[in-house]
């Protein structure tokens, strides 16, 4: 459904993405990992239209995304969350979801809003101010909820588990699995927690210095010496430890 070929992004003299090429199939769940500054969020920004690539091809279900603004990509079915939650100011949780549903890709079914609130455990917070009255886990859930309310076929989740303590992380992971199973959508998840990625995604991409250096099953990828070196500077986990 999504194909990237030779995607490059330059910020002045800095090359944030060198030549990223990969594709995502319908319903596929992919983990995107890499050290800090590897270009993961830039890749999401390119796919969602927040950043325009300097070179490369970017197609979604046969349509080139290159000239489309963010909002048109959302209406094609690309939903995303932000690493730092960005709730809509002075709006309740439900209003956040309503805005996303009204302008997003899908039907405007009010039942879907309630369903999302239930799946993400936000039902009792529906009428709270999204900016000031939510805890971190709830903010993260709302980020996912907004993306889901647009009725995407591809969901890009940027470190939605970051900053959560272990028990919250586990509960959140279960919610993500429920989302994946309920809506049968393709997901690309940026995450540093290897166990989480391995549990949710049968395929993992590793990005380092703006290049994809590994693509395969979690087991194969996390044993790849180049991947280990990119994280630790050492060639084996034993050396690293």
């Amino acid at each position: 459904m999504l194909t990237l070929e030779g995607v490059q992004v330059n910020f002045g003299g800095v090359q944030a993405l060198k030549s990223a090429s990969f594709s995502v199939a319908e319903g596929e769940s992919i983990g995107l990992v890499g050290p800090n500054g590897a270009g993961k969020t830039t890749l999401f920004n390119v796919i969602s239209g927040v950043v325009r690539p300097t070179a490369g091809r970017l197609d979604f279900r046969g349509t080139s995304l290159l000239k489309l603004p963010e909002w048109k990509r959302a209406r094609l079915g690309i939903g995303r969350s932000f690493q730092i939650p960005r709730p809509f100011g002075h709006c309740t949780v439900r209003e956040n979801l309503l805005v996303a549903q009204r302008f997003g890709a899908g039907k405007k079914d009010p039942k879907r809003i309630d369903e999302i609130l239930d799946i993400l455990n936000l039902r009792d917070k529906a009428d709270r101010d999204a900016t000031t009255e939510l805890a971190l886990t709830e903010h993260k859930a709302l980020e996912v909820g907004k993306a889901l309310a647009t009725e995407p076929s591809l969901l890009l989740l940027d470190e939605v588990l970051a900053g959560l303590e272990t028990s919250s992380k586990r509960a959140f992971m279960e919610r993500l699995a429920a989302v994946r199973d309920r809506y049968r959508l393709a997901m690309v998840i940026i995450e540093h927690d290897i166990a989480t990625i391995a549990a949710l995604c049968p395929r993992v991409l590793v990005l380092n210095f703006g290049q994809i250096i590994a693509d395969g099953s979690p087991d194969a990828v996390f044993r790849d010496p180049e991947v280990i070196r990119s994280y630790t500077g050492e060639t084996t986990l034993a050396e690293a430890s």
């Binding site: 963010e70 909002w71 959302a74 995303r80 809509f88 805005v99 009204r102 647009t150």
Partner: protein
């Protein structure tokens, strides 16, 4: 009694006073009625300014341009092409809306940069009005602009008729503002304020929405400008594009509460009428100073403006009554 019901009762009572009470009380007092018309003219621009500021998130220092373009469009159409005055007034709004399209590239600018761009833009139109002498009469302006006609025996060209016209324009503008605010468009516009990119990635065409608010705001301001041209029957560039048509509505909207629908109207009536009826007789020269001090005090002690302050007080009193 719920807050919504209370608001509706207050609104119906206020409209009854405006449409029935004021004409009965001041219908024969041309001076006071003239002041109320002037206050409502400012109120109309203030509502349009607040719509752009509150919903569109854009601070405009150039609404005088839309006021001037609306007034000249309407006056020229009525004088040179014989367009009926009421139709010309609406076309004045259309003219102002069309003129705002030239401002659309500035929507990419944020904060003070947008405000400065629109300020510069207002000056361009003033220069055009001065230089296009065959159409606009140049610096000398236009005299004997057709007044509002008599309809079914009621003379809308008189002060009372003008009052009812401008009152209707202001009420319709406020209703439009309220309808947009309550819609999902309004919700999206509100959502855009803090994080525009987050709204765009859920499908909100943020620039289009802001453009729609700019065009609507310009249309309302243009209609008010057109009304004013036919009411006073005279125009010149210095008057039509005066910075007063920007500054006074901003002061009124901030004083009344620009984040509320009726705040700009209440603010315009309060500051203009209090200034003209109370401060001016006491201090004929420099009475605006007192107004300035009042505005500063309002910003310091109730930054949200008069309407939110009154609402807080009403809620507090109602809680005391139930305690």
């Amino acid at each position: 009694m719920t807050t919504t019901l209370l608001n509706r009762i207050v609104l119906i009572a206020a409209l009854a006073i405006a449409y029935v009470g004021i004409p009965i009380l001041f219908g024969g007092n041309a001076y006071v009625l003239g002041l109320i018309v002037a206050a409502l003219t400012i109120a109309g621009v203030a509502v349009a300014w607040a719509l752009l500021g509150n919903l569109g998130g854009m601070v405009s220092f150039g609404h005088a341009a839309f006021f001037g373009v609306g007034s000249y469009t309407s006056a020229v159409l009525a004088m040179k092409l014989g367009v009926p005055v009421f139709a010309a007034m609406l076309l004045g709004g259309v003219g102002a809306a069309v003129s705002s399209v030239a401002m659309l590239p500035a929507l990419r600018l944020r904060g003070p940069y947008f405000a400065l761009a629109i300020l510069a833009y207002a000056h361009i139109f003033q220069i055009l009005a001065t230089e296009m002498t065959p159409v606009t009469g140049g610096a000398g302006g236009l005299l004997s602009i057709p007044r509002f006609p008599t309809v079914l025996g009621f003379d809308f060209g008189e002060k009372l008729g003008g009052y009812l016209i401008v009152l209707t324009i202001v009420v319709l503008a406020a209703f439009a503002y309220d309808a947009i605010r309550r819609s999902t468009w309004g919700l999206a516009l509100k959502a855009m304020h803090d994080t525009e990119v987050a709204t765009r990635v859920v499908g909100v065409p943020s620039t289009h929405l802001k453009a729609a608010m700019l065009v609507l705001s310009a249309f309302i301001t243009g209609v008010v400008g057109a009304f004013n041209a036919h009411f006073i029957s005279f125009l010149d560039p210095d008057y039509a594009f005066s910075s007063g048509w920007t500054v006074l509505p901003i002061a009124a909207a901030i004083f009344g509460g620009y984040r509320t629908v009726w705040g700009p109207v209440v603010g315009a009536l309060a500051i203009y009428l209090v200034d003209q009826l109370l401060f001016k007789p006491i201090l004929p020269h420099g009475h605006q100073m007192i107004l300035g001090v009042l505005l500063c005090a309002m910003i310091l002690f109730s930054p949200g403006g008069l309407m939110p302050a009154l609402r807080r007080r009403t809620v507090k009193e109602s809680r005391h009554a139930h305690a």
